[in-house]
Symmetry: C2
Subunit: 267 residues, 2 copies
């Protein structure tokens, strides 16, 4: 519990950039993406898999550069987004051409890292650029951290039935339900104060975001278990790396982004 | 040589669907994608990697369904294409949740197969739907097979210096140059007869397509070498599977597609 609260406080300055949004948040997302991919790749060292950080870094930087051009209306999302995917896959495959030195895993981890960390995080940056709904970046964070904290307290107080003992032994169904309820309530409070006309949408995002945030958390646990590590890094001493903090946000950001694009912007 | 010519003849009926283009070609691409992903996954059996064909098949079918809706103007490419990528990555990661039964490779091969085979091939289908430039699907095929055949004859006649002996021992630099020249000439002939006002663009596509087609060929060789197999399948008896035939077209199709979208359609 102490860990969880201290981590929460350590996160506070990072959350300040959410207030500025726009390019400040965008720059933050670039840094988180580049550091996150680095931590993700480092986790594979023990498995003797050597993904290409240069390919990943160039791919991620191109993605964010494209995002800026799209935002300025210089290029269209289509076909540039799909061209980016194509070019990224090709770059990862070309990495295999030194066939004696490279394993298939080296290329596949490179691709997975770019998409799972870089591309997922990119949604947060793009969401923050949205003039009308950019404030909803808070929802990606509130659902992720709200679920985590509420699930913790609900689990401690009421936890009886294990959720998935093999992946994450401490999680309980009671905690999960508490996490979802907590996230919906927090989202409702946020909606009430900041987006009253979209209050019900905020609570729907809270519900969906809370569920995907748990999947994000468990996905990171699976990777770490398979890698044989406890934390991705040691950036915040005693509280893990950047990916340990943002594992759920990686999943909630795209959720909020697509909810805005496909539901709210069509209203 | 006999193999190469017979394979060429066996391909002839397949090429007939290129004449119809539109939904006929689109349906052909769906079949090639689904069969190609199946062959790709089967190649990993020897490595004891078990990707999820159901996830891949659903993802590929969703992609092609989206393509039809985009083509009919019911949905926009953005954000649906990037939502598709997000959902596909999440589905592959969820596949790991049975953590005792699954390896990271199972998920990463699933993702790689969907993108490398399904997504790359999808470009051919979408290109064939283009009203003005759909005829250029021929260029994806001419550059791929033209390079292959011309490189073969040039290599037999003049080949002295090995291109990349570790990946594909029979290929020579002389063959590669002959393949590029042959593809440019064939593309020029095609342009002269069918798209005279875009003749120079056809030859540029011939040049670029020929180079990426060799990368496509070598990429497939790398996969097969790492898998420890000679051919992906035995669909055309004695002449390999569908992926053995289309390994280069997987790379030339996106090239032609993006050339059309970013160059020709802006003219």
């Amino acid at each position: 519990m102490k860990t969880r609260i201290i981590s929460g406080l350590v996160m506070a300055p990072l959350l300040v950039i959410l207030i500025f949004r726009g390019y400040v948040l965008y720059a933050g997302c670039i840094i988180i993406s580049l550091m996150g991919v680095y931590e993700f790749f480092r986790g594979f060292r023990e498995l003797e898999i050597k993904p290409s950080y240069p390919i990943a870094a160039v791919s991620v930087i191109c993605l964010y550069a494209m995002g800026i051009f799209m935002n300025l209306g210089i290029i269209d999302a289509h076909p540039w987004e799909s061209l980016w995917i194509f070019a990224t896959v090709v770059a990862c495959l070309l990495y295999l051409f030194k066939i004696e030195k490279r394993k298939l895993d080296d290329a596949m981890v490179t691709l997975t890292g770019i998409l799972y960390v870089g591309f997922f995080c990119f949604h947060m940056g793009m969401l923050g650029m949205n003039e009308e709904f950019g404030i909803l970046v808070w929802m990606a964070v509130i659902t992720a951290f709200g679920t985590d904290i509420c699930a913790y307290f609900a689990g401690v107080a009421l936890g009886r039935h294990k959720l998935c003992p093999v992946i994450s032994p401490k999680k309980t169904w009671e905690g999960a339900v508490g996490g979802v309820l907590g996230a919906v309530i927090l989202s409702g409070v946020f909606g009430f104060f900041f987006m009253r006309e979209y209050l019900i949408h905020c609570m729907i995002i809270g519900l969906l975001g809370s569920i995907v945030s748990m999947f994000g958390d468990l996905t990171a646990s699976i990777f770490k278990r398979k890698m044989g590590i406890k934390d991705y890094g040691n950036l915040i001493p005693g509280h893990g790396g950047i990916l340990d903090r943002f594992d759920s946000v990686l999943f909630t950001s795209p959720l909020v982004y697509y909810y805005v694009e496909l539901v709210l912007m069509q209203c």
